[in-house]
């Protein structure tokens, strides 16, 4: 155990986390240059494109120190977005230390601090690493000052590197070995292993990624998941080299994988504790939370005949995303579909993109909503996460909506504008604290609905990217709610309806109309877009029609060319949903919730 180190790299976006991970892997000589693909750990296309890590990954790096001793270093990669902060916290709980990576040009940024806090909560050894020192804009002294004043860490312990150029890599390895403590634990004790990830393998079922704190697990053992008491027989254990490497056991201090015939990832809960059925540990490891979807939206195929394919796609997708939940649903405007729950809007967009890309389907998502609670006059209580199921307003005794506590970290100079934004978002019970000179922590209680409605984007915008944000769900609070419908050429489009606070109805309806005007392309006739509460129209825009759109000439040689152009346009139109006679692009449905700052 004394020759094992478990660590993670945490950083603000674009500070070079994936590049450093690549360089560490390369340095160990596990992969030859020819097979090397940038950002090895981000192996989904969508992760490389967005430059973010969605799923956690782990890799085991064998390292020989300068004085010749052999070590096993387990690098656990983490996702980098508030939607996935729970997964980050579980990954960090599996480590003893972190490399806190800071861009030498940009210095300390919002996520640097947010991640530092997560690491501190987990009592991890923190090694600041200043990256990109080869850049002309690099200012190592300034960054060291920030490490001291803003992070409260000792700048003398900071390392300097250029992951891109491969400078300073060996020093990082030496620091990991010397400064991060070796794991503690009793290999002979009752098994306690933390599940920090689970992925689906089409041939073997679910592969559980875990960190063993105490005890030992080996093939043939019966393991128990402590949250639901389910038991499974272990088929294989091992560790992560570039490919999986089978072992005869994994023990206290180690990071590895387990196959135990678990069918889907939904059977496994990240953060859960895994123990032995015949010799369980006393209590689970701390920090376990059930996934709770907070944002809901319906997914429909654009072509109704794709419904069955969509059903298959979601079933397959679900195998690999335990946080995603769905059930059958139908809409008057959009037909048969599925009501789905997500961790947040980013999670929603990722699901949308992956379903479209990996299963080649064109889909539409209805306007996202949170889950409201209504007490009806007959005393019954119902939960509504789909505006289409909004109860008859005369039957409602009271409405309630979920509240969260938002934790906001940002430089003091933005305090005024952040507070203004939070007030606008119906924030209450604010608390303000100073972290260090010039840096504040502000907490607010806010309706979740206001948070999913463009809060994150606007917060990033008013703090010019220096703000970081996290939240926890609190409780339900009474609220005056109304249903805002959208009518396109007089026809109600249920998938565009929103439940909102009465005071926000008018501005939201107007905003929705304006956004739809931007998103719906001009057509051959005038399109009227209206927002309405009940029968009352509260906002209106119109999209003027095309008047002239025909090519001048069309003779022998032009016919094929012209047809190809029309075929292309027709294909684009197939990606739109025709409601009444109006073609609405898929982007329109999500755009209703997006803010001005996106453009």
């Amino acid at each position: 155990m004394k020759n094992i180190r478990n660590f993670s790299i945490i950083a603000h976006i674009d500070h070079g986390k994936s590049t450093l991970a690549d360089r560490l892997i390369q340095y160990t000589g596990m992969v030859n240059e020819r097979n090397f693909k940038n950002q090895i750990l981000d192996n989904m296309d969508i992760e490389r494109e967005r430059g973010i890590t969605i799923k956690s990954q782990a890799i085991c790096l064998p390292y020989q120190t300068r004085d010749g001793e052999e070590y096993i270093l387990n690098l656990i990669d983490t996702p980098g977005h508030v939607d996935f902060s729970y997964e980050v916290s579980r990954s960090l709980a599996s480590c003893e230390g972190v490399l806190l990576l800071i861009d030498a040009g940009q210095g300390v940024q919002a996520q640097t601090i947010a991640n530092l806090y997560l690491a501190m909560e987990n009592n991890l050894e923190i090694i600041p690493v200043i990256n990109k020192i080869d850049l002309p804009t690099a200012d190592v002294d300034r960054v060291n000052e920030q490490i001291d004043s803003e992070l409260g860490l000792d700048p003398f312990g900071s390392l300097k590197c250029s992951a891109k150029e491969g400078i300073g890599i060996e020093e990082i390895f030496e620091a990991i070995v010397k400064r991060i403590p070796s794991p503690k634990g009793d290999p002979e004790g009752p098994l306690a292993a933390l599940i920090f990830d689970a992925q689906y393998d089409p041939f073997r079922g679910t592969i559980i990624h875990c960190r063993v704190f105490d005890g030992t697990v080996k093939p043939g053992d019966f393991i128990r998941l402590m949250s639901n008491q389910a038991t499974y027989k272990v088929e294989e254990v091992g560790r992560f080299l570039l490919a999986r490497e089978k072992r005869d056991r994994i023990s206290a201090g180690e990071v590895g994988y387990i196959f135990a015939g678990v069918k889907t990832v939904s059977d496994v809960h990240i953060g859960d504790t895994l123990t032995l059925d015949d010799r369980p540990c006393d209590k689970p490891l701390p920090g376990f939370k059930e996934f709770k979807p907070v944002v809901f939206s319906s997914i429909y195929p654009i072509a109704p005949e794709d419904y069955e394919d969509l059903a298959v796609a979601l079933e397959k997708y679900k195998l690999n995303d335990a946080a995603f939940v769905y059930q059958k649903d139908s809409s008057i405007a959009l037909g048969q579909g599925f009501r789905c729950g997500f961790l947040g809007l980013l999670h929603l967009e990722i699901v949308q993109e992956r379903v479209e890309r990996e299963y080649d389907l064109s889909i539409i998502l209805s306007v996202p909503s949170v889950r409201y609670r209504f007490t009806l006059k007959d005393g019954s209580i119902i939960f509504v996460d789909n505006p289409a199921h909004y109860p008859d307003s005369l039957s409602i005794e009271k409405g309630e909506e979920p509240y969260i506590r938002a934790m906001l970290l940002f430089p003091e100079r933005y305090l005024g504008s952040v507070m203004k934004l939070c007030m606008e978002k119906r924030g209450e019970n604010s608390r303000l604290g100073y972290l260090g000179p010039g840096r504040v922590e502000l907490s607010y209680e806010m309706p979740l609905a206001d948070v999913i409605y463009d809060f994150y984007d606007r917060f990033k915008s008013v703090t010019q990217g220096y703000g970081s944000f996290d939240y926890e769900v609190l409780d339900y609070r009474e609220s005056t709610l109304v249903l805002v419908d959208i009518l396109v050429n007089g026809e109600k489009v249920d998938a565009l309806s929103q439940i909102v606070h009465r005071d926000q109805a008018r501005p939201r309806a107007l905003r929705a109309c304006e956004r739809l005007k931007e998103e719906i392309p001009r057509q051959m006739f005038k399109i009227a877009i209206q927002g309405a509460i009940g029968g009352e129209i509260i906002s209106r825009t119109t999209i003027s029609p095309f008047r002239k759109d025909v090519t001048a000439k069309c003779y022998g040689g032009d016919i094929t060319r012209k047809r190809k152009l029309l075929e292309k346009q027709k294909k684009g139109k197939k990606r739109m949903k025709t409601i009444g006679s109006v073609s609405i692009p898929q982007s329109a449905f999500l755009a209703v919730l997006k803010s001005d700052t996106d453009n």
Partner: protein
């Protein structure tokens, strides 16, 4: 499928003295290669011996066919008659540049059987001609039209362009009125189209000039139609007007109703059944193939029923006649009226189409949106 339709013959003469700045048709300025080309053309004709007969139209286009001598044109027609059946009253059209037209040339080509002339006047405004890079003057435009009449052409068409930078509605109206003075049997009025690789297209992309916005384009389109209809012309296709049904272009109609046509010469397109093929877009490569005894075809496409349907829709909606629903159902296996009832009803309400008995017809507003209408 087209068994009841009579094919047309197109012959592409790929030569120009100078290239107009907006044109993206294939042509070469190496006039010395004309004899080689003609030899190649005659060989190509032999390769299609008896495959399309009979033809009831011949269209000699380009390029600039009026660059050829009347003797060379005569030879083309002799060879065409030798290799194909041309019916006795075939419409035989030549495209001509005003600068090339003198009385004796015109009389000679009348004599060899060319009975329709389409003159590329483009504008009666000198500034506009300069902008387009035409090599003729307004004066030459006048004299060519007059000479054509004197030479006995009773079926004469003029090509005109609107939407030229620097032009306004008034000067376009002047050009139209000037054209009407000659009472041409046919008028083609095109909106200037800026093709990407042409000099004007490139200059436009660089922002050197702007073209009319959509509302103004529509105004040109509508005013043109009104003015010419008032003068007794039928607006029978998006860009084409005829002084009476007998003066519509019989040849061009074939492109719009999926009739078969054979195109000869570099870059020419052909269509038969559900196949379309096109020749190599280079005189050298065209000749190389022909001399090897091979058809100089660059590529062929076989159209699916869905593709044929889309073409039939967008081509049909370009014409005043519109689409015969029963015929469409028979030829393209699609009952437009039943399958697209909702959107068709909406389009009728919006005044873009009308349905009279079996005919689906674009209205004046519908004409201006013909491409988009076909995407229903």
């Amino acid at each position: 499928m087209n068994s009841e339709k009579i094919p047309g013959l197109y012959i592409h003469i790929p030569f120009c003295l100078s290239k107009c700045l907006y044109c993206d048709f294939y042509s070469s300025t190496s006039i010395s290669a004309v004899p080689d080309f003609l030899n190649g053309l005659f060989k190509e004709m032999e390769m299609y011996l008896n495959q399309f007969n009979p033809f009831d139209t011949v269209y000699i286009g380009g390029g600039t066919p009026s660059l050829l001598s009347s003797k060379q044109l005569e030879n083309i027609l002799i060879k065409a008659r030798k290799n194909f059946d041309l019916i006795s009253d075939a419409e035989i059209t030549i495209e001509a540049n005003p600068a090339d037209l003198n009385r004796s040339f015109l009389e000679s080509i009348r004599e060899i059987g060319i009975n329709r002339i389409n003159i590329g006047v483009q504008s009666f405004d000198e500034k506009a001609l300069n902008f387009l890079g035409r090599r003729h003057s307004v004066r030459q435009a006048f004299s060519s039209v007059e000479a054509s009449r004197k030479a006995g052409f009773k079926n004469m068409g003029l090509d005109l362009i609107y939407g030229i930078p620097g032009q306004d509605m008034e000067s376009w109206r002047d050009t139209l009125k000037q054209a009407l003075v000659f009472s041409p049997e046919h008028l083609s009025c095109y909106q200037l189209t800026l093709e990407a690789k042409t000099p004007l297209g490139i200059r436009h992309r660089k922002g050197e000039f702007s073209v009319p916005v959509e509302a103004l384009q529509l105004e040109y389109f509508t005013k043109t139609s009104e003015l010419l209809e008032d003068a007794g012309y039928i607006h029978y296709e998006v860009s084409n007007f005829a002084r009476g049904h007998e003066h519509t272009s019989r040849h061009n109609q074939k492109y719009w109703d999926h009739s078969p046509f054979l195109g000869l010469g570099p870059s020419a397109h052909s269509f038969q059944g559900n196949q379309r093929w096109w020749n190599r877009r280079s005189l050298d490569r065209y000749l190389a193939a022909v001399h090897e005894g091979k058809r100089p075809v660059e590529d062929t496409e076989i159209l699916t029923m869905e593709q044929l349907r889309l073409e039939a829709l967008y081509l049909g909606l370009r014409t005043k006649k519109g689409i015969a629903l029963e015929d469409f159902k028979t030829r393209y296996h699609f009952d437009l009226f039943a399958e697209k009832k909702e959107i068709l009803t909406k389009l009728v309400e919006e005044g873009l189409i009308s349905i009279r008995g079996d005919q689906l017809v674009p209205t004046q507003s519908g004409f201006a949106l013909a491409d988009r209408l076909s995407l229903i």
